[in-house]
Structures are given as C-alpha cells and as structure tokens.
C-alpha cells in the first residue's frame, strides 16, 4: 500500500512539472504568455473552472497563433459563457482572420443564453459583415425568437448580402408568419436574381409545409 502511494505521488510530481509550478490564478495567467504552447494549453485548461478567467483568456485569444491553444481558449470561453467571454468572442467577428471569425461564430452558437441579450445589437451593427455573422450565429442558436429576428432583418436591412444570408436561413426555418416579409423583400430586391430565387424557394417550402 505504501509503495502504491509513493508511486502516485511521483506521477503527480511529474505532472506538476509539465504544467508548471504555480497553479493559482496569477500563476496561470502568467503562463498564458509562455513560449511553450503545451504550457499555455495547460494554463487555459486549468483556468477554465475559474470564473474570473474570461478577461485574460480573451486578451490571449487574438494573439494566440497555436491552433490547439486557440481551440482550448475558445472551448474555455464557451464554458465560461459570461458577458466578458461573449464580448471577446464578438470582437473576433471584426477580425481580419477568417479562421478566428468562423471559430468565434461556432462558439457563440453554443451559448444561446449569453447571445440572446446582444443579438439585437449585432443584427443592427453598422458593419454589414458583422450583421452577416450575426445571422450565421442564429443558424444554430436554437432559440424560439430566431424566425422573428430573421423577419426583422429582411424587412429592414438595406444590404443585399445581409438579407440573402437571413433568407438562406429563413428558407429552412420560415413559417407562414414570414410570408409578408418575404414578399416585401422580393419587391425591394426585384433586380437581384438570387433574392428572387430564394424567396420563391422559401415561399414554396412554406406552402408545402416542408421542414
């Protein structure tokens, strides 16, 4: 029995060496700037249960070049899901890095409770690309207001690509309550073949009761 205990202690000691010596909040935050990606990855993992971790993780996210560490940070932010984490992820939507944008969209889809309060702001953001990404987030948000948000977009947004992105999703989730907005959209963009094609498709699917 004593032998087994001794062996366990040895393994824990080795593990401690790999993950660094200080596992408190300040030590872990410092390790986010380590040159060793495995140290950074372990620091992210060990910060995840700490509620105050969102700020340092968000700060690290945009500077992180290692894909596995970045994935760990995104996973941690999804787990934390607080307002700081969500704000950091929203900032990523404005990034020039397409991969980071897509990763942020995927994470935001996973935290509907946190996204709900801010989705209205994203859907009316001054940057049309952010509005498009906001519609992309709605795609998997599984929220009861999704159709209503999409109707709001196609009724009011003046940018054809924001409307077409909303339309792509409305073609899948739209019900009879979308019909007036769809017809209005087709009139607004009557010279855009893609909009006309998509509206006709959506109307046909709604009429057929297709899921």
């Amino acid at each position: 029995m004593a032998f087994i205990k001794k062996q366990t202690a040895h393994v824990e000691s080795e593990d401690q060496d790999i993950r660094g010596l200080e596992r408190d909040f300040i030590g872990l935050v410092a390790e986010l700037d380590s040159d060793d990606s495995s140290v950074r990855r372990w620091a992210v993992r060990d910060l995840m249960p700490m509620p105050e971790s969102s700020q340092p993780l968000v700060k690290r996210l945009t500077r992180e070049n290692d894909a596995s560490v970045r994935a760990a940070i995104l996973n941690a932010l999804a787990h934390l899901g607080d307002s700081v984490a969500v704000a950091g992820l929203v900032d990523c939507l404005r990034s020039e890095d397409a991969a980071l944008r897509n990763e942020a969209i995927d994470v935001l889809k996973e935290v509907p409770h946190a996204v709900e309060p801010i989705i209205g702001g994203l859907l009316t953001d001054e940057d049309s690309d952010v509005r498009i990404f906001a519609v992309n987030i709605l795609e998997s948000l599984r929220h009861k207001n999704v159709e209503q948000w999409l109707i709001g977009v196609i009724e009011k947004d003046t940018h054809v690509n924001v409307c077409s992105t909303a339309l792509d999703l409305l073609t899948e989730v739209g019900t009879e309550q979308s019909i007036p907005a769809l017809n209005l959209l087709k009139n607004r963009f009557s010279d855009e073949p893609y909009i006309c094609f998509s509206v006709d498709l959506a109307l046909k699917r709604i009429a057929n009761g297709s899921d």
Binding site: E96, A98, A99, R101, N102, I105, D106, D129, I132, F133, N136, V160, N161, S164, T165, L167, D168, T171, E172, E192, P193, Y194, I195, F197, S198, L201
Partner: protein, 123 residues
C-alpha cells in the same frame, strides 16, 4: 460533360448555383464544407470549383490551401464566392489558390461567363 463542384454550407446557394450550371449543360456535385470537398476530390476529378469562404469545419481558404498542396490531384481552377468584399478577403482568396474572387450575390450570366472562361469552354 464538364464536371463542377459547388462548395457552400447554404443549401439555397448550392441549389441556385446548381440550377444555373446544369441549365448551361454542366454536371454538378455539391459539398457542404471544405472537409467534404477534400473527400470528394480524392475520388473524382473536377473541372472547376465554386467555393464559398465562410463554412463550418473547414472554410474556403482552408480548402483551397489544402487542395492546392495536393500535387497528385487535378489542379482545376477555382472561383471563390463570398459575401465579404474587403480587399483583405480578396487577397486571402488569391493567396489560398483562387483563380477568381466574386462577391455575392452573383448574377447567372456573370457566373456562367466566368465559368466558361476558366473552364476553357468559350464558344
């Protein structure tokens, strides 16, 4: 018959492109993201790719980078089609291996003109 792979996560966009291309006599396959597209090119050579940028799992840039690195598959031209019209997005597309970068929405005649040009199918 020339064979085209349309890669886009939006079903409506894939159907829109399919209708245009099949109406002009092309054979069309679809993939919903870059990963599925890479799987398809391993078993079927294509004469042209129409590639969306923002897709889950593997985006258009990632697909083109990986595809262009595969020297043992037919390196056909690719048209990248995106909602993003920024210079940086366009540059990234060309660096990744796109032959042409178009901004959505693409009109049918415009798409067919570029497809015919790139596929060497001009009358």
């Amino acid at each position: 018959m020339k064979h085209i792979l349309v890669i886009d996560d939006a079903a409506t966009v894939r159907l829109y492109h399919r209708n245009i291309l099949e109406g002009a006599g092309y054979q069309v396959d679809e993939a919903i993201n870059g990963i599925e597209a890479l799987e398809k090119v391993l078993v079927q050579p294509y004469d042209l790719f129409i590639v969306d940028v923002n897709m889950p799992k593997l985006d258009g840039y990632g697909f083109l980078r990986e595809f262009r690195s595969q020297k043992d598959v037919l390196q056909s031209p690719a048209i990248m089609v995106s909602t993003e019209s920024g210079t940086n997005d366009r540059t990234l597309g060309y660096v990744a291996g796109a032959n042409l970068y178009l901004t959505k929405p693409v009109k049918p005649n415009e798409l067919l003109s570029y497809v015919r040009l790139l596929i060497g199918d001009l009358a």
